[in-house]
Symmetry: C2
Subunit: 371 residues, 2 copies
């Protein structure tokens, strides 16, 4: 019953994490309060959007098009839907059902092969799963593609980023070769402080852009797909085909707009806090972060001790200090384990002393284990 | 500039309709208040659903499975998504990408050919667009199909229904022939009073069932797909492929549940009111309803006068009586025009005298026109 034990242990860690007074990651629990806060100042007489039309959706789409520096933007219920559609449009235009993306691309590992099953598009996996796509990977590509998808930051490897200059070279290469460049910007807002660029400057390198509102922004759900008007108009046809053109999307639009306004100006703070937070982890024995110095509000934490030993240790730290670090752990092939963390509103509210105390105890317990 | 004039006239009618004090159709405007009312008694600490899991979504899915008499139910953001997926599953199981449905089926006329573009499923159109599908249409079918979709009531022809006995015969025929029967029950709740059957009794004739929560129920958006557990589990795989497996669907689930509880017991009242309402129309010159006697809360109103003449006439009635009948008209090929109406909460609040006054004036003005 190994599986059952593992599950039970996982539930214990989650339970202990939930009970902590101070959580260092995120914006707090995803409760109905998130919606209620977003709607607290909205007049009850405000008219719903209506199958993608109306002032409420138009205003937000225009605001996002401006922010991203694109001609037009369309609100989607999800990024899964928006991105598959973007790739389909670029493939149709070129008449070639081949694209390229990173081996850990969301479309490859989190969407039950929707791109392949619904569109029969063949993805070529560029780079290897532990590093970013480089210009050289593109140059070495033996066959033509309709579209290259680049994810900024590359979430599954801790949220890493290419140099901006490398990105510019990739963009130029694609334009010269007639390859469309699509941005998976699920966490684009979170990397603006590192790049020291506006969203529009980054997006100008791409033909189409997807951004999400429930990662760093912390809204309920929702996505924007932006590009030229002919592109976004075509995406609306597909949005209806997918069943994403709901009679009312306003619960997501209103909350996306509310939390965008509330948090877009905090991305610099999250980034600075993430660097300090990673510093705490890297000061401990048997712990390292990926990347070592974060380039956004997120990073991965790697432990060179097995999950079975780390779980009770973490629970001990939570119970002794009231500080929670993670509710889950993932076993790694190398005998260690890891989890992903990200900075949101909660970090700043935890007293510095509490953080120091928690990491001191964590380091002490880890030292004991590794002897 | 004929088109522009037509549009302006349409806007005038809509504007005049909006200004009326008494609207005879629907549940009132689709404003943010619809959401705020649904959430007014929900505790802010209630946890969101999480990618299709959690108590909030489980409870509603179980409640709907019970109500529909099916083993299992899955909440979808839209019926478009749910129904395409249902047909895809039945086609995959039989290894035959052919289905049959009515020429006015939602999948055929309102979804930008999503079924064909995303699944390459070929629909055979049964019956003709002005009448219901009968057992004979099925018997006359020259080739095998994986699935027959039946819509109850058939919305685009005024919300007509087959006899229940005919439905039973169609169901038996399908079972004998190895054809899956899918119910487009967008307005299923609305026909229970006419059939004098429980939803479960009707659904027992079908292998899979879709119901909607923003028609008669009047919620924000959302759908349920129900069937055997192996079927619904497979639908969840596709729900993720479509990008419908949102991190949070609770804005739709909470409102669907709230308005279901509030209105499911009123369907009998809506049905009785619809019959009286249709009677008012049928008592006027140059007006007839389809069906003549409604079998649900909805029907179509047909005028044998052209749209251009009817619009100013209706505006006059609205302004003189304060009673609003419709905000749009659709030209018909025969020189007349029509609109769709449905009974919701508003009808009962309009004083009987006002209704009589409005229809008396409507009849008088129509008599003058037709001379």
């Amino acid at each position: 019953m190994k599986n059952k034990e593992a599950t039970l242990m996982g539930e214990d860690l989650l339970e202990a994490f939930r009970k902590t007074k101070y959580k260092l990651g995120g914006n707090g629990p995803r409760t109905v309060q998130v919606l209620e806060e977003a709607f607290s100042e909205v007049d009850g007489g405000t008219e719903s959007d209506f199958y993608g039309k109306g002032k409420l959706i138009d205003d937000f789409q225009n605001k996002m098009a401006d922010f991203l520096g694109k001609e037009s933007a369309v609100f989607f219920p999800s990024g899964v839907m928006a991105q598959q559609i973007a790739l389909r449009i670029w493939c149709d235009r070129k008449g070639l059902q081949t694209v390229a993306y990173h081996p850990t691309c969301h479309l490859e590992i989190h969407e039950n092969d929707g791109l392949k099953e619904l569109h029969h598009i063949r993805p070529i996996l560029l780079a290897d799963k532990d590093r970013l796509i480089s210009l050289k990977d593109l140059e070495d590509l033996k066959e033509d593609i309709s579209c290259l998808l680049i994810e900024l930051p590359q979430r599954e490897i801790g949220g890493q980023l290419p140099d901006f200059h490398e990105l510019e070279k990739i963009s130029s290469y694609c334009r010269n070769k007639g390859i469309r460049l699509h941005l998976d910007g699920a966490r684009l807002f979170e990397v603006l402080p590192y790049y020291q660029k506006s969203a529009a400057e980054i997006c100008s390198l791409f033909d189409s852009v997807y951004v999400s509102f429930y990662k760093g922004i912390g809204a309920i759900a929702g996505a924007i797909l932006a590009g030229s008007t002919d592109f976004t108009e075509e995406s609306k046809v597909w949005k209806r085909r997918y069943g994403g053109d709901l009679i009312s999307l306003y619960p997501y639009i209103v909350s996306s707009n509310y939390y965008f306004d509330r948090r877009i100006g905090k991305m610099g703070q999250y980034y600075e806090e993430a660097k300090k937070f990673a510093g705490f982890y890297n000061s401990c024995h048997a712990v390292s972060t990926l990347p070592e110095v974060p380039v956004s509000n997120m990073f991965h934490v790697h432990f060179s001790v097995p999950l079975e030993k780390l779980e009770p240790l973490l629970i001990g730290v939570y119970q002794a200090t009231g500080v929670g670090l993670t509710g889950y752990l993932k076993s790694l092939g190398n005998g260690g384990c890891s989890f992903e963390t990200n900075i949101g509103d909660l970090y700043e509210d935890v007293p510095e002393e509490r953080k120091r105390e928690a990491f001191k105890l964590l380091d002490q317990k880890l030292s004991e284990i590794i002897g």
